[in-house]
Symmetry: C2
Subunit: 172 residues, 2 copies
DNA sequence: GGAAATCATTTTAGGCTTAAAACAATTCGG
DNA sequence: CCGAATTGTTTTAAGCCTAAAATGATTTCC
């Protein structure tokens, strides 16, 4: 419910309601702050992955998805999970197969489908990177109390739901 | 202070302390959720900018920086503000000058420096896009109460500070 | 004054990313 | 069954992005 004061400039000099855009500055500031946090952390992680393991963040992310799926995933699954385009995954997988980290085969039951999984090498390297990665994240969030973490989790869950709803409204 | 139960598996069968990696699963989950939220919203904004105005998000972001600086900015300033590489800005600016949205000139007092500003066209188009953009953001965050927004702002400020501190520790 | 360090920007090489179109295989509806 | 939609993937064209090296201008410090 908007306060009376918020309505003052919705009335013109003749005290007739006019179309005045609502003020959404707070949400805008929130979005910019969210983006800043993510960019900051992402850049840091990207740099450390490159320095320590000479690997890119997208490759690491892709391997992380596969590590959770011992039986492999289809390219579409990966693309949905990573929230990136299909063509993007095609290229990433190409390079990771080339470097021996991924195994790729056409599904027996549906010849459209490509199933990819980590190779032994891929899994071993990922585990090694993931262990260190986890300590970086812990360090980056070190000044948040457990309560802060819980509260952020809760609010971000709410944010995600809100954004998904809004996206669905536009593209039903 | 860790609870006693957290220490149980830090003792091996002979009741001697062993090196056990700490559990940072919560922070990791928090980071993934933060990333998911940002990716979701960013993708939505990117798509809407393209559909409605045929403009990319990086171009919009760059114009947003310049809109706040009527006297223009140097490329370095822009690069720092946007948290992207210098070379990246060079390319973006090139295309925006080409399309008539930006004006670029060498500083009178320091011939290393390039000062860029919005042209009349650039400013007009940006204002038009920004107004609509603000409503998208408001809609994406619509299910958050004002209190949620405040609380999220607070926690993200804390997160940003923590991450900056951690980044500074590595790269002093 | 001049060499050395610093600073702002550009270039380079490689990879990431997207939207849209194209292709290929499967499923669905008559 | 068979044509039409759908689905999974790849290709294409364009743009974004980075780190590192190169270039050019300015400042610093003997």
């Amino acid at each position: 419910m908007p306060a009376v004061s918020d309505c003052i400039n919705m009335l013109d000099s003749e005290t007739k309601a006019v179309e005045t855009p609502e003020d959404h500055a707070e949400e805008l500031r929130l979005w910019l702050r969210l983006l800043t946090c993510t960019t900051l952390i992402e850049g840091e992680v990207r740099g450390r992955l490159r320095q320590r393991f000479d690997v890119t963040l997208p490759r690491f992310d892709l391997m992380a998805q596969l590590d959770k799926a011992p039986d492999g995933m289809t390219l579409s699954d990966v693309s949905k999970r990573m929230m990136v385009s299909n063509g993007n995954v095609t290229g990433l997988v190409e390079r990771l197969v080339e470097s021996g980290h991924l195994d790729r085969r056409t599904s027996e039951t549906d010849r459209r489908v490509q199933v990819i999984r980590l190779t032994k090498l891929g899994r071993a390297e990922f585990r090694r990177m993931a262990a260190e990665h986890e300590t970086w994240i812990a360090d980056l969030f070190a000044d948040l109390s457990p309560k802060d973490v819980r509260e952020l989790m809760r609010l971000l869950a709410k944010t995600k739901a809100s954004a998904q709803k809004s996206a669905a409204r536009r593209r039903p």
